[in-house]
């Protein structure tokens, strides 16, 4: 779900990024600031298609800053109430059927989150771009009739990240005067694309125009994808810290 919040943050980041702001470090800081946000609430559907199954889940998510996120499944019925809490570097899962909370171990971090193409590790790592990557503007200008800016993120030498490079492509929303994401490409160390995220579904949510559909496609399985479709987005609601606790994870229905 952090990806969903990531999406929010990316959207917000590009939303506030002014065309005049061209300093890469500054932009990265803005990403971080927006990533944290004050708080957010989202209602969304996640569709997962793999070679073995296709599933759809409706979820609600709350975030506070960039370190706290809580996601709860609303549908399908058999998984209703299952929840994930990300607090700092830790991830907890609550299973209502057994009424048990499990703290994910390091060995489970690369397991698929909710059966999607996101890993549990994505939830933790995606919130630290500014710590882990050097960012430069790789391209800025017209592309397919759109005013496009492209950021190239390369990992810092000691950063514990697997990507060799991340390229984020955004376009200028003409009637909004701010940038929105189009595509993110994740490369391995040999500079081969490993997975691609595409953004679409421009729509007004939470008081601003945002890309409301995010699709992740692994390069080695091009027929598979995970798609997140936002139905509701709200920002800066007051959410107490206790909401993002283990008792909050179990308590909330």
């Amino acid at each position: 779900m952090q990806k969903a919040v990531t999406f929010l943050a990316v959207s917000l980041f590009f939303g506030v990024l002014s065309a005049e702001s061209r300093d890469a470090s500054e932009i990265l800081n803005e990403i971080d600031d927006m990533w944290r946000g004050k708080s957010s609430y989202a209602l969304f559907t996640m569709k997962v298609k793999t070679a073995n199954y296709t599933r759809s889940m409706t979820m609600r998510a709350w975030s506070s800053g960039k370190e706290k996120t809580l996601v709860r499944i609303l549908a399908p019925v058999k998984e209703k109430g299952s929840a994930t809490l990300k607090s700092g570097n830790n991830i907890y899962t609550y299973l209502p059927k057994t009424d048990r909370t499990i703290k994910l171990t390091s060995g489970m971090m690369m397991g698929a989150w909710m059966g999607s193409h996101f890993t549990n590790d994505d939830l933790v790592k995606e919130s630290r771009l500014q710590d882990d990557y050097n960012v430069v503007i790789g391209f800025e200008g017209e592309r397919d009739g759109e005013s496009v800016i492209e950021f190239s993120l390369t990992p810092k030498p000691d950063a514990p990240v697997v990507w060799g490079k991340i390229v984020i492509e955004a376009f200028l929303l003409k009637d909004g005067g701010y940038y929105l994401p189009l595509k993110e490409r994740f490369y391995d160390e040999d500079m081969e694309v490993v997975r691609t995220m595409t953004f679409s579904g421009l729509k007004e949510l939470g008081g601003r125009k945002l890309q409301t559909i995010m699709r992740v496609i692994p390069a080695d399985e091009p027929d598979e994808f995970t798609e997140v479709i936002y139905e509701t987005l709200e920002f800066n609601e007051e959410i107490p810290d206790s909401f993002f606790s283990l008792s909050g994870l179990r308590r909330m229905k």
């Binding site: 390091s106 060995g107 590790d121 697997v162 990507w163 160390e189």
Partner: protein, 407 residues
């Protein structure tokens, strides 16, 4: 007189002696192959990190956790190096981790090692390095991974990867590392799940102190004395928050398998021994029954039943001795070949066959410990003598008059 009787029936003596010799041959084959394979497996598993004897924090074996730390490891290592029977002691940190590249991720086990204190002869991973070389610093961001892990993660020498583990406070921590070497032990499960890391880098990552580790693993001169050595080591470094365990406990699966296999081996040998003993019993019994008249004469001229019993029993003893000599003559070349060359069973085994993650040597060889050899000789000899007991008793109870009449 017993010897003379034996020489009188040379063919029968030869056949019976050959039966005993066959018993020796079989017993040596089963025992020596067992001694070799068990020792090989125990030593191999010890070289996978735990040693023959392990000193670790109390409860670590039952419920492994990075929070259970062994303190004062340098001092423990120094103390153990002076213990008679200890070949080498090595400080190591074990932990579970997730290893990831951009392509994929796999769960596995890391072992934090100090390259300066690792002898390839006592570390199967270092000894199995096929590409690259072991890192030379304890603080570098290097990693040695198995060939299957490298394959799964699409990694080569010099490539970056991330390992994620849990620190002493239970927090998830990640660290970058470059592949410095790739090992291949031949066991898929091992080659896809194990990785070696510089020990001080591990300490820093998982918040261990400079003198803390998971364990001090101890290699012994002879694994057979693990229990004795564990008690000895306990007296040297034992404390209430530490446990000193042998491979039987740290490698419980393998230990259980060896126990069952050894018991089956002994049972099989016992059954074979019974069949051989029955054959000897039959031969000697026939020999007694066909000499009833002769025994009657001996008893009639004054030989006591006890002496007659002794004479027949001596025949068994002599047969046993002859059988053992024949057995040694027949078995020695076989043992010599199997000790130095062995039978290559690679074509009959799956590649990377293992038991509990421990590589099984596809070359079947022999190794017979002195006590095993003595046990075989004593066992086979005893069986031969025991087989002669009933005929000897029967001979001693022959009624002289009836026997003479029967003759």
């Amino acid at each position: 007189m017993a010897l003379r009787t034996m020489l009188r029936r040379k063919r029968r003596t030869l056949i019976t002696g050959s039966t005993v010799a066959f018993g020796v041959f079989l017993s040596v084959t089963f025992t020596a192959s067992g001694d070799y394979s068990y020792t090989n497996m125990i030593d191999t598993s010890a070289k996978m990190g735990f040693g023959h004897v392990t000193v670790q924090a109390l409860g670590q074996n039952e419920r492994p956790s990075v929070t259970k730390r062994l303190s004062g490891v340098s001092e423990i290592g120094k103390s153990l190096d002076n213990v008679d029977g200890v070949s080498r002691s090595t400080v190591r940190i074990f932990g579970q981790a997730m290893f990831a590249s951009a392509s994929k991720s796999v769960g596995g086990v890391f072992i934090g090692i100090d390259p300066a204190s690792e002898d390839p002869a006592d570390n199967i991973f270092v000894n199995s390095i096929k590409e690259g070389k072991i890192f030379d610093s304890t603080t570098g961001k290097k990693i040695i991974i198995g060939s299957k892990m490298a394959e799964k993660l699409n990694l080569r020498i010099g490539k970056r990867m991330v390992w994620t583990s849990t620190n002493a406070e239970g927090e998830i921590v990640s660290q970058i590392a470059k592949v410095s070497a790739i090992f291949s032990t031949g066991v898929n499960d091992v080659d896809s799940a194990f990785a070696l890391l510089p020990i001080d880098r591990v300490r820093k990552t998982i918040d261990y102190g400079p003198d803390e580790a998971t364990m001090v693993s101890v290699m012994l001169d002879d694994q057979r004395y693990s229990d004795v050595m564990a008690r000895r080591i306990e007296t040297v470094v034992g404390e209430k928050d530490r446990e000193v365990l042998t491979w039987r406990t740290t490698q419980a699966d393998m230990s259980g398998m060896i126990t069952v296999d050894r018991a089956s081996n002994y049972l099989f040998q016992f059954l074979v021994g019974l069949v051989i003993a029955a054959g000897i019993l039959n031969t000697i019994m026939m020999s007694v029954l066909e000499r009833k008249h002769e025994f009657g004469v001996l008893l009639a001229v004054g030989m006591s039943p006890l002496r007659l019993f002794g004479m027949v029993l001596m025949e068994s003893v002599a047969l046993g001795v002859v059988g053992l000599i024949l057995g040694i003559i027949v078995t020695a070349p076989w043992y010599h070949y199997m000790y130095y060359t062995g039978l290559d069973l690679t074509s009959m085994m799956e590649e990377g066959s293992d038991i509990g993650g421990v590589l099984v040597d596809p070359v079947m060889k022999f190794r017979l410990y002195k006590e095993s050899a003595l046990a075989i000789l004593a066992g086979v000899f005893s069986l031969t003598v025991a087989a002669g007991l009933y005929p000897a008793i029967k001979a001693g109870r022959i009624p002289p008059v009836d026997s003479l009449k029967a003759g």
